[in-house]
Amino acid sequence: MIEALLLVPLFTALLCGLARSERTIYVLSAAGSTVTALVAFPCCYQALSGPPLHRGPWYLDPLSALFVLVIVVITLLVSVYSVQYLQHDRREGEVNVKDLRYYHVLLHLFALCMLLVVVVDSLGLMWIAVEGTTLISAFLVGFYKKGEAIEASWKYLIICSVGITLALLGIVLLYASSMAALGEGADTLDWSALRAVADQLDPALVKVAFIFIVVGLGTKAGLAPMHTWLPDAHSQSPTPISALLSAVLLNCAMYGVLRVHILAQAAVPGFSSSLLTFFGLLSVAIATAFLLTSRDLKRFLAFSSVEHMGIIALGFGIGGPLAVLGALFHVVAHSLTKTLMFFGAGNVIQRYRTREMREIKGVGRTMPATASLLVLGGAAIAGSPPFAIFIGELLITAGALASGEYLVAGLFIALMAIIFAAMTYRVLGMVSGRPQEGVPAGELGALRLIPMLVLAAAILMLGVLLPSALGDALGSVAELFEVII
């Protein structure tokens, strides 16, 4: 069953590669991601409710099921959105048919690698999958053949490869720490095995291993100060891809860190959570500084991803039932909201042909539908209540207060308030006022608005109610962190 989940994107990629006309490529890509979604839902449901599926190299437990769902849903929305996005680029003449085919092949291979990361049991294979995602997405970042895109993709490639190499060293040390407990056996690198024997691991080795993992995979997850590649990669890549990068790739890297965090938490209680809290707060602080001053719209959203990854790390770092539930909820909320914001940004950028926020004015007049969705998304991403992100932040604050870390909670709330002010200022600046001349009015396409409406409805619904299905799912995932909700 899990093989099917992996084969469908591979098969779609091949088909897209061979397809002749543009229309078939679009249809194939959308159909492929839909089928992947249809395949993913049953097995995730099974993994979330019952015992984890463990067959051969594959291992699907509640945590990976949650991430699979996120990957599959976001990929579906991205492929639907990129249809009209690329059509617009085709009309502008920036992209030819060969690029189009090239884009869709890479898109589905990228999705395949990400699914691989969260589905595989052995940490080594997981490393290989993460390396795979980097290599493939480097091409996607460098999709537009401009100078800046090349520079961004080169930096992305180098920095992430360095990060992943360090992460591999971390995995090796982790493997070494399990030598004493598990003896020579070949399968000692499987996470489930390590999980069973987690408390007998050699503490000194686990500590150093976790440091390497956090710095290594943290680079991939966009935690400050290793986040430097993120704004460049996101601003130069095509918008659907930056949505995919922000909402899903960062989560996969964070998934790796969480896997090791579970082990480290058992072996050396408290060490890994304090490290995660430190990196979380540092990322939020640095992101705040950049949110106050950045002028490019996509870099602005990229730094907001750094901030939200920091919040997720902070949530897991604080620990305790409330904070962990909040962080898990935040993973889902952030992916949905960030994708909505990137889609909105995509529409605006393609209409105004600039990413400079100061030059974008009067979106409310030219594109009313996108403007209202952008305002909703902006309020959501800034963490105002009726939306899902607020629930995540609230639970994490409550968790911090419950576990007595008042300074962390106070600093967190202050930074959130500043970020709210900075974000709403930018979004409102763009939406209000009078548009410059020469910017034609009217939406760019109805099909692109559908995924945005779906996302807006989702974050609003998640913000107010918590569907019981999602509640139980998060509960079962939280058990992995020895926390009962």
């Binding site: 040390l173 493997y175 070494a176 070949a186 050699d202 460049d232 950045s294 002028r295």
Partner: protein
């Protein structure tokens, strides 16, 4: 540049030798396979590819690096000391033969990273990354007597892919920037 690739090839050969010795010592045959693979892939194929791409891109001399020679030597020395300081509590428990291999591997990784920082050319950064891989590989075989085979092969395959893709990007950089000097690539700021 050529001298750099030659030293990388020499390092890979030494690595293969260590692997062979270790395989002999522990008697597990799949380390032999790994040693052979290192010899072939890292010793011959990758240097060959590097020299081929250097000819294509007509990259001759590394213009003088960001950090002077004496300074980089001192820093590398410092990094070795730091590596030993870090691994000291870890290897107190391990057996004799691989006692200081972990420290050496960590040192090689840190020096590889330092090399990527101090050099300008894109190709040199690639070679730096490969040196980090080598250090890493040393760490693997010394602490764990060889990871499961599929993982080893997977890692080799990834390293090869990484080098190929970086080669393609280096070619693209050369095409658009007419130089491989990464210090010119600073347009994305703030």
């Amino acid at each position: 540049m050529g001298q750099l690739v030659r030293s990388f090839a020499f390092q890979s050969l030494m690595l293969a030798a260590i692997a062979a010795v270790l395989a002999h010592y522990t008697g597990s045959e799949h380390i032999y396979v790994v040693a052979g693979l290192t010899l072939v892939v890292k010793g011959l194929v990758i240097p060959r590819f590097l020299i081929y791409s250097m000819d294509r891109l007509k990259v001759r001399r590394e213009i003088e690096p960001l950090v002077g020679i004496p300074a980089s030597l001192l820093i590398s020395g410092g990094l070795v000391i730091v590596a030993y300081y870090i691994t000291e509590p870890l290897i107190s428990s391990a057996e004799t033969v691989t006692r200081n291999c972990l420290a050496v591997s960590l040192a090689v990784v840190l020096i590889g990273l330092f090399m990527m920082i101090s050099r300008r050319k894109a190709m040199t950064q690639m070679v730096g990354l490969l040196m980090m891989e080598n250090g890493l590989f040393l760490g693997i075989i010394s602490t764990t007597y060889g990871m499961p085979l599929i993982v080893e092969i997977g890692i080799f395959f990834d390293v090869l892919m990484a080098v190929l893709i970086m080669g393609i990007f280096a070619y693209r950089i050369n095409q658009t920037f007419e130089t491989l000097d990464t210090t010119f690539m600073r347009r994305l700021r703030g």
